[in-house]
Amino acid sequence: MFHRESGVFKTSYRGDMALYPLPIAKWTVGIIAAIFIVVAPLALDDYYLSILNLIMIACVGAIGLNILVGYTGQISIGHAAFMSVGAYTAANLATKLGWDFWLTLPAGGLMAAAIGALVGVPSLRIKGLYLAIATLAGQLIIEWTINHVPAISGGTQASIEVPKPALFGYELKSQGELYGFLLFFTIIAIVGALNLVRSRIGRAFVAIRDQDIAAEIIGISIFRYKLLAFAISSFYAGVTGVLYTYYLGIANYEQFQLVTSIDYLAMIIIGGLGSILGSIFGAVFITLLPTFLRNFMESFGGLFFTDAELATVVPYLRLTVFGLLIIFFLVVEPEGLNRLWRNIRNYFRVWPFSY
């Protein structure tokens, strides 16, 4: 309706290459940003803020994974392990050396990037399912190492308590304060990823995904860029791990097991491969769905089941519905929620004169 190029002319390359070339899109983004920065923390109570917090953490991880899988076309089932690398790096630095979050956060990311690039080395030789298995091995090896090396895991429970992040000596404790903390880094992650994928490096990634032979002939070193994709993606994963650790107040390997890797893959597949917005959609969807289903069951489950049945049936039913919904979405729109959104937008672009 409002989102249309008609009548918008650009007289500079700068204007034409802007992130949001249309004035209406600039306004929309501005309003959404204002809602999240100003309105949400004032209007929402702790429960809803905590959900938003989890969504933001998932966003960072999903964007990172999408850079690798969606943009570069390499697969990784080891991302949860890279998150745990970031989490334990930050936790150790915070507790043993007393570093602040503005040091532990990049440190966790960089460590994850290094490990991620190492796990990505087989991608130079193998593709697709074979690479999936290689990264799966990475996941298991990292999990095992963290569990069995007390110097990393911090002892018997393999978990390290970390102090809450502090800003100029003030501890960020409440959901609202943590919301601000997470929002800051999420915005950086989103804007940075948007910039990355529209410039030289991002284009090279897509080139490798679409036609690796042609990419090589125009001077893109496949070797370097595949490793770079793994490193950047793992950096995001590491930061996700650090953020989650600060949010929970504890680094725990149970949060970063194989299932989490699969969850993140589900996010980007449902959201849309090769799209930053899609990653965000996917993160919202996968984070909200369990909560939504639980609330739904609690409200309406009584109509079909007795209370005793409810207690035993609900957890399984939730998983089943979860799986069914994912399949449903993929059948309806295999290219993900982002495609759905684009179809809607494109429909209204020329509305009401579709032809």
């Binding site: 290459m17 940075g192 910039n195 284009r203 042609a214 090589e216 002939i217 893109i220």
Partner: protein, 273 residues
């Protein structure tokens, strides 16, 4: 700030720019390329012709680095590129197109051409991540050069179309554009006119001549359309079953009895058409 139209080559016109010496390649029992010598002089259009399976594309693959020759060497402007990676060879200024179009199909024409500028851009991870500042300036500078190529190839109205949706002839043209965006010193074209109709062939021939004459780009051309080859080439090299059987000006090659035999069997008719 404008971008130099063509990278400067240290050589004068007519000097040997690309030299292939005694190059051979076997695939199992098949001698795809059998000790071929080839000298490409700066500023010329050299065509490599021959029947199917003569080893033309294999030869091109060895120049651009996809195959490593079993014997022999390839030298480009003093660099030994015999065993160099294709991406390395591209940075020296060798661009190429493929027989089966190898565009990035999901990307727009503009992005495909911007990718052609890859070796001329330097933005690293951090400056790309921040974008505003260095990376943006670089994008704009290179965009200006890409727009020149878009104007040259008359692709203005297709800028933001995904290349996969374009007609075949246009895809070939975009692929030429992507190679040109590299500002190459040598352009390797593998059947740029294959599958085109007469009009499209004439357009493509005109583009190749313009690139060669106005920008001074050396062209190595593989093509089956003899009319085009004889019209635009300065030199023609004929391969048959991996061996070089003739070479010289188009006129000389057309009269060469070996060439006539290879193309037409033992017929006495003059000139392969």
């Amino acid at each position: 700030m404008s971008v130099a139209a063509v990278s400067k080559s240290p050589l004068a016109d007519g000097e040997i720019q690309l030299s292939v010496k005694g190059v051979s390649k076997r695939f199992g029992g098949v001698r795809a390329v059998d000790s071929i010598d080839l000298d490409v002089r700066k500023g010329e259009i050299l065509s490599v012709i021959g029947p199917n399976g003569a080893g033309k594309t294999s030869l091109l693959n060895m120049i651009s680095g996809f195959y490593q020759p079993d014997t022999g060497s390839v030298t480009f402007e003093g660099h030994n590129i015999t065993n160099a990676r294709p991406s390395q060879i591209a940075t020296y200024g060798v661009a190429r197109t493929f027989q089966n179009i190898a565009l990035f199909r999901g990307m727009t024409v503009l992005d495909n051409l911007m990718l052609g500028r890859h070796v001329h851009m330097k933005a690293g991870v951090l400056s790309s991540f921040i974008y505003w500042g260095l990376a943006q300036k670089e994008e704009i500078r290179n965009r200006a050069r890409v727009e020149e190529i878009i104007d040259f190839l008359k692709l203005q109205d297709l800028r933001k179309q995904p290349t996969g949706s374009l007609a075949y002839g246009l895809q070939k043209r975009v692929e030429l554009g992507r190679a040109l965006a590299l500002d190459p010193k040598v352009l390797l074209l593998d059947e740029p006119m294959g599958g085109m109709n007469q009009d499209e062939k004439e357009d493509m021939a005109r583009y190749i001549l313009d690139v060669n004459e106005e920008w001074g780009v050396t062209v190595v051309l593989i093509e089956h359309d003899m009319g085009v080859v004889m019209d635009i080439s300065d030199e023609v090299v004929v391969l048959e079953q991996g061996r070089r059987i003739a070479g010289g000006t188009p006129d000389a090659v057309q009269r060469n009895p070996e060439v006539i035999r290879a193309y037409l069997g033992t017929s006495k008719s003059k000139g392969a058409v």
